[in-house]
């Protein structure tokens, strides 16, 4: 994998910001789009577009094929057993809400518990709180250790009373970069009779995901972080899960028949896909999946590891820096703070130099509280990130620190 070649696939990387070349270190928030994705969407709108699934005409049939090819690609990407196990949503948040409503309120019984971890994104906290308050399920939080890893002993203890119906946990923290030991988590959950969902919004960007090897009951992610368009997310669920879950949203395309008295539902996965789907986005996401598959996850994981190692080495040398999370298994997301400067000021000064990082609570307030801070700055890497960009970050941070000292 040659980063220079890869960078040529991303037109935006040639932009300048305030007169400086763009150094985009905010891929964990949303990744940039390769030309293949841009072209696929443009091409669909220019040459082959209509609504899908119901049209008997040429444009509709071709568009349906192009859109449904994304389901095959997503199933292959995750090694799902069948394409029917892939449900499209609007984003990861939409997928998590679907499960929280349809499984959390529709299958779990009041009194059963859901376990999340102490390093979840709000999107894997709030839907469960809402299910707790509306449906009477219990919400349990598995703590993290000081190094930013899941506390496996405490996690197992939470499972022991057998009340836990579902473990819903991140596969990679968007703040600490920690990968959670998904296969072990799933095995433990299953041992105690719980199902397991992984929020793979961050993880799937860097590593090959095999839902069958993990034995995940649910696995979700979001198109825009995997170099695809906004407006589309992916929920994998074992067919037996989908079969037992009631539908969530009602409307066109998710029904088998409708009368005023009673409607019946389409087969899975369509039962969970109401209304005109994100057609162009599916076409774009298919191109994104093809793009990363062509690079290969082995190469991408190695690139991420090399960048992360380099960044940890360079950043840890900066005076007065605090790096959050020291997990054994960690990836290309690094949160930090300088002792003399607020992270917003840091982010602004980096931005003045064309370096885009994120600052704030990263939609993870409870984790911020655990870390004892209000906010952090965060640099995150994509397939197009270079070692030189990390050097630019480290050099500029050093000067920012001096400025505020």
């Amino acid at each position: 994998m040659n980063v220079d070649d890869i960078r040529k696939d991303f037109p935006i990387l040639g932009q300048t910001i305030r007169g400086k070349p763009l150094v985009f270190l905010d891929s964990a928030a949303s990744a940039q789009k390769p030309r293949a994705v841009i072209d696929a969407m443009r091409n669909a709108m220019e040459t082959q577009y209509a609504n899908v699934h119901r049209g008997l005409h040429w444009m509709s049939e071709r568009t349906t094929e192009a859109y449904e090819a994304c389901r095959d690609a997503a199933a292959a990407l995750m090694n799902a057993e069948s394409r029917e196990e892939i449900v499209f949503t609007g984003n990861s948040t939409g997928a998590l809400n679907l499960v929280a409503h349809s499984y959390g309120r529709g299958v779990l019984k009041p009194g059963q518990a859901v376990v999340i971890s102490g390093m979840e994104h709000h999107s894997n906290i709030v839907p469960w709180q809402m299910a707790r308050d509306a449906h009477g399920i219990e919400l349990r939080v598995a703590p993290i250790t000081d190094s930013g890893e899941l506390d496996m002993t405490a996690f197992e203890a939470l499972l022991q009373d057998g009340k836990v119906g579902l473990v819903s946990m991140t596969h990679m923290s968007n703040v600490l970069g920690t990968y959670t030991p998904a296969a072990r988590i799933a095995a433990l959950a299953h041992q105690y009779g719980a199902k397991v969902l992984f929020d793979g919004s961050q993880a799937i960007v860097h590593r090959a995901i095999d839902v069958r090897a993990l034995d995940a009951d649910f696995y979700c992610w979001t198109g825009h972080k995997l170099y695809g368009p906004t407006g589309i997310g992916v929920l994998y669920a074992k067919r037996e899960m989908l079969e037992q879950m009631p539908p969530f949203l009602g409307g066109g395309d998710m029904i088998s028949s409708v009368s005023y008295e009673k409607s019946t539902w389409a087969r899975v996965p369509h039962k969970f896909e109401a209304g005109t789907p994100a057609i162009l986005e599916g076409i774009g996401l298919k191109a994104a999946i093809d793009y990363v598959q062509a690079i290969g996850f082995e190469a991408m994981a190695a690139h991420e590891a090399s960048l992360t190692e380099h960044a940890m080495a360079r950043l840890s040398q900066i005076e007065g820096i605090r790096i959050f999370g020291q997990a054994q298994d960690r990836g290309g997301v690094i949160s930090f703070a300088l002792d003399k400067a607020h992270s917003h000021d840091v982010a602004t000064l980096l931005d003045r130099q064309g370096i885009a990082v994120r600052a704030g609570h990263h939609c993870a307030e409870p984790l911020m509280r655990r870390l004892g801070v209000d906010s952090t700055a965060r640099a995150s890497f994509g397939v197009y990130t270079t070692h030189a960009e990390i050097d630019a970050l480290a050099d500029t941070l050093t000067r920012v620190r001096e400025f505020f000292a």
Partner: protein, 152 residues
């Protein structure tokens, strides 16, 4: 431009200085009005206390803030600028200040706004505009007798 020059576009000496060592950065023992300001998007928080002279002239302002250099410096410069002003006058200043930090334009010959002009550089950084205006929103809430403001 050098790094230092680029930094100074926004972080002028007075902002760094006030951000580090604000002169009004404490709650008032005796006060007539107070309110909190909260920017949930970035976690900045500020509370402002105001004391009036006879009538509605502001005699003293104090604040406690958790946030970036911009928001703290803005609170501190605000406390200077509103000293001795009536309510209506202060509200008018609030409006002019917001206009200035949004546009970057400081009206000529306005000596009061000129004191606040070092903050006008934020107009290049729209999300930081909220950092600069947060203490003013809190002040405004205090003057209006509401207890909370948000610059979300």
């Amino acid at each position: 431009m050098s790094f230092a020059d680029e930094v100074r576009e926004l972080y002028q000496e007075v902002i760094l200085d006030r951000g580090r060592k604000p002169r009004h950065g404490q709650r008032l023992a005796a006060f007539d009005a107070t309110a909190k300001g909260d920017n949930p998007m970035c976690g900045d928080r500020v509370q402002v206390w105001v004391k009036f002279d006879s009538g509605d002239t502001i005699s003293e302002t104090g604040f406690e803030a958790r946030g970036c250099a911009i928001s703290i410096a803005s609170a501190d410069l605000m406390a200077d600028a509103i000293q001795g002003r009536g309510k209506a006058d202060t509200k008018a200043l609030f409006d002019s200040f917001v206009a200035m930090v949004r546009t970057g334009v400081c009206p000529e010959h306005d000596t009061v706004l000129e004191q606040l002009a070092p903050l006008s550089g934020v107009h290049e950084y729209p999300s930081r505009v909220k950092c600069a205006t947060l203490p003013w929103h809190a002040l405004n809430a205090a003057l209006e007798g509401t207890r909370e403001a948000s610059s979300e």
